[in-house]
């Protein structure tokens, strides 16, 4: 497969935020990216914030607690010892309690907060606070400080983020809090987090598939992120169909002019029992495939115009298991994203 290449340099990035429309496989891409980075010898933290336990399922481990767990090792590459992928499932309640104990000596008041339902209020109801807590924990993982004793320092953090439709609001915690908290500690926390998010050490990658709506949503997402001053990274095109039929043959397949007798002869020579309907079936599949490929190519052109470094990942017919993740990680590495 002629994979698009890019000479973009991501080596200084510390925080990779991965977003995408539902159904495009953003979690798969985030996990592959984490594995790919670990294969370069980096120590990587893969975070999820939507309470889905998707990481645990992909890596086939027990549901993750609010603690960094070692889940996989990168591939050995040119003799460099591989790095390790740790994973963290961030929930707002735990993040708030950790934050309070790290920064405030609240003592009895801290327990009272929980008893009076303030923790629940703050994390489920109070608008914006939930996102500040989630992004705040991600920030803490990227910039470990002396308060968190004995914590692992990571070379890179990969965030499996909320979908494209919500990503700008999620990252733009400053705006979210504007008007709510104009001063005070939570406000300064939000300001510090924003400084990192707007710096060149953060990038937001958008995952799409080559269909009209997801590509449109990707374009909208890029525009929104740019307006908010957030750094847009790569566009990762996922679930790409195989491209091993020549353009001329594709055109013939669309027109229904593929040479059936040639296919039949090939099949016989390859030792396939040419039963009734096999050749017709193959040609019909080719026709469908050619139509989809044409649509994909049209969308690929739209993606190219987005002006972002672009990477492509194949659709794995058997679905994505741990082996599949390594396969995709190797692909990202080969193309230069990881």
């Amino acid at each position: 497969m002629a994979a698009p290449t890019s000479d973009a340099d991501w080596s200084r990035v510390r925080l990779h935020v991965v977003t995408g429309k539902g159904g495009t496989g953003k979690s798969t891409v985030a996990a592959s990216l984490a594995l790919g980075l670990a294969s370069q010898g980096q120590q990587v933290l893969l975070c999820e914030v939507e309470g889905r336990q998707g990481i645990a399922r992909m890596f086939d481990v027990d549901p993750l607690p609010y603690a960094e767990r070692r889940i996989a090792t990168g591939l050995r590459h040119n003799g460099t010892p591989p790095g390790v992928v740790h994973a963290l499932h961030i929930d707002p309640e735990s993040a708030l309690l950790e934050y309070l104990s790290m920064y405030y000596k609240l003592g009895r008041a801290g327990r009272a907060l929980d008893r009076f339902g303030v923790i629940e209020f703050a994390t489920t109801i109070a608008p914006g606070v939930r996102d500040v807590l989630l992004t705040g924990k991600v920030f803490e993982a990227v910039r470990r400080n002396s308060r968190n004793k004995g914590a692992i320092s990571y070379d890179a953090v990969v965030l499996d983020a909320p979908p494209t439709g919500r990503i700008t609001r999620f990252l733009n915690v400053n705006d979210e809090l504007a008007g709510l908290a104009k001063v005070g500690p939570i406000r300064s926390q939000a300001d510090t987090v924003m400084t990192l998010f707007r710096s060149p050490r953060t990038v937001v990658h958008l995952v799409t598939v080559l269909e009209e709506m997801p590509v449109q949503e990707t374009a909208d997402g890029i525009a929104e992120l740019t307006r908010a001053g957030l750094p847009v990274g790569a566009v990762i095109v996922n679930l790409v169909r195989p491209r091993d039929i020549s353009p001329a043959d594709l055109e013939a397949a669309r027109d229904g002019t593929l040479d059936a007798s040639r296919v039949a002869t090939d099949l016989e020579e390859a030792g396939v029992d040419v039963a009734d309907g096999l050749v017709d079936g193959l040609l019909a599949e080719a026709h469908d495939h050619a139509e989809r490929r044409a649509l994909e190519d049209a969308q690929r052109a739209v993606v190219a115009q987005l002006g972002r470094p672009t990477y492509e990942l194949p659709r794995l017919a058997g679905g994505v298991d741990l082996g599949g993740l390594y396969e995709l990680a190797a692909d990202l590495k080969k193309q230069g994203l990881a």
């Binding site: 709510l180 939570i186 709506m213 091993d244 390859a270 396939v272 039963a275 096999l278 079936g281 649509l295």
Partner: protein, 400 residues
């Protein structure tokens, strides 16, 4: 299963019963049944809920129902083709339905509406409070943030709008079927729990604490409250707490109304005239979410009509297995790297593997939920952005 094993609760795992044939979901019977007044399409994001809702609504309208479809976030071109690209929270008639001569039964019609969540919330406030009080609420920073970004507001407002349209339709007979698309939730919980969550928020101890000093000074100034305000001032800053108190106090009189409405909407969803359709793609995550929906709907006694599996891979012809095809493809490629037939065989192998995987996923779902009628909609080659495309999806849904 052996008889010596006794469980307090009967379990029907995949081993206990052999999965029989899954009952087919008869979409046309559902649409034609005059008793069906509301259809709610739910499922995780990216599975085609919006398109499915629009296709069902169009098909029902062309079969003679007076339909309104509430969509949340349709693709731009689809919205344009339905004439609802403007977000004005009012149902608009959709042009271009098939006329009687072409098979439209008597009296059908279709309106469509795109939900403006903030506008809906504002309207509720305006209808419940005096003008001055409404103004005070609408300008409060807490209300602004709550009405535009509280997780669950969109879900709650979709249900609120459904309740409004249903009440209006009952009064003036404008519609006899409402099709609702649900927002792409973080999880199934958001949509089903939003009304409950809003109610419990309003009943919360914390809210009552906030209300107390605003109402009767010092009466509730318990040691606990002093501690809490102290802590909150430290973390949030004093201004946030003041805004919150003003907001909660201003909102107080509306709380009863909101709770009642949430309860009424919940009852409406449980009523006989409502049918839930769970939409999924043949992917593990989407089907897991669908299974969760099915279980939750059962627990909440919400009437489930069936499961729609969208975008299924088309079944390849012939009996050539994926492994045989791959082996033959490799042999051909060794001889001629650019062989067309090798490419075709690889496509066939991919297709067969995908169909097998999807069938397995559906079987697993059916083993756990054998009673759920299912419709499988094959993937179309292109995107749907006009009425003809919706009509085509409608036909596929109905198995026609």
């Amino acid at each position: 299963m052996s008889t010596q094993q006794k469980r307090s609760r009967p379990r029907f795992g995949p081993l206990a019963t052999s999965p029989g044939p899954v009952p087919d979901l008869d979409v046309d019977a559902l649409l034609d049944d005059r008793g069906t007044g509301i259809i709610v399409c739910c499922g995780s994001g990216g599975v085609g809920k919006t398109t499915t809702s629009a296709a069902l609504a169009l098909r029902a309208a062309e079969r003679g129902r007076k339909v309104v479809v509430l969509t949340i976030d349709p693709a731009r071109r689809l919205a344009q083709s339905m004439g609802i690209e403007r977000l004005d929270n009012t149902p608009r008639p959709v042009d271009g339905l098939r006329t009687n001569a072409k098979g439209n039964r008597q009296g059908g019609g279709l309106d469509a509406m795109m939900l403006d969540m903030k506008r809906t919330f504002d309207e509720v406030v305006e209808s419940q409070a005096t003008p001055e009080k409404a103004k005070q609420i609408l300008e409060n920073p807490f209300y602004i943030a709550l009405s535009s970004s509280f997780a669950g507001t969109q879900e709650y407002m979709a249900m609120e709008k459904l309740g409004q349209i249903h009440a209006d339709a009952q009064a003036d007979g404008s519609y006899d079927l409402i099709v609702v698309d649900t927002p792409p939730s973080r999880s199934a919980l958001d949509f089903l729990d939003a009304p409950e969550r809003l109610s419990s928020f309003l009943d919360g101890r914390f809210i009552r604490l906030l209300l107390a000093p605003a109402k009767g000074p010092a009466r509730m100034m318990s040691a606990g409250f002093g501690l809490i305000t102290g802590a909150l001032n430290k973390v949030l800053g004093a201004q946030v707490l003041r805004d919150m108190q003003t907001f909660v106090a201003a909102f107080d009189t509306l709380f009863g109304g909101f709770r009642q409405r949430a309860q009424k909407t919940f009852e409406l969803l449980q009523a006989d005239g409502t049918a839930f359709l769970v939409v999924a793609a043949p992917e593990p995550d989407a089907l897991r979410e669908a299974a969760y929906f099915v279980e939750r709907l059962g627990e909440d006694r919400m009437p489930l009509a069936g499961l729609i599996v969208n975008r299924a891979s088309p079944i390849p012809q012939g009996t050539l297995s994926a492994d045989e095809a791959m082996a033959a493809s490799a042999r051909l490629r060794k001889r001629e790297p650019g062989s067309l037939t090798a490419g075709l065989l690889r496509l066939h192998a991919d297709q067969t593997r995908m169909v097998e995987r999807e069938a397995l996923l559906r079987e697993r779902f059916a083993a756990a939920h054998p009673e759920v009628p299912t419709a499988v909609v094959p993937a179309l080659a292109g995107d749907v952005h006009d009425l003809a495309g919706l009509r085509r999806i409608g036909q596929l849904l109905a198995g026609a």
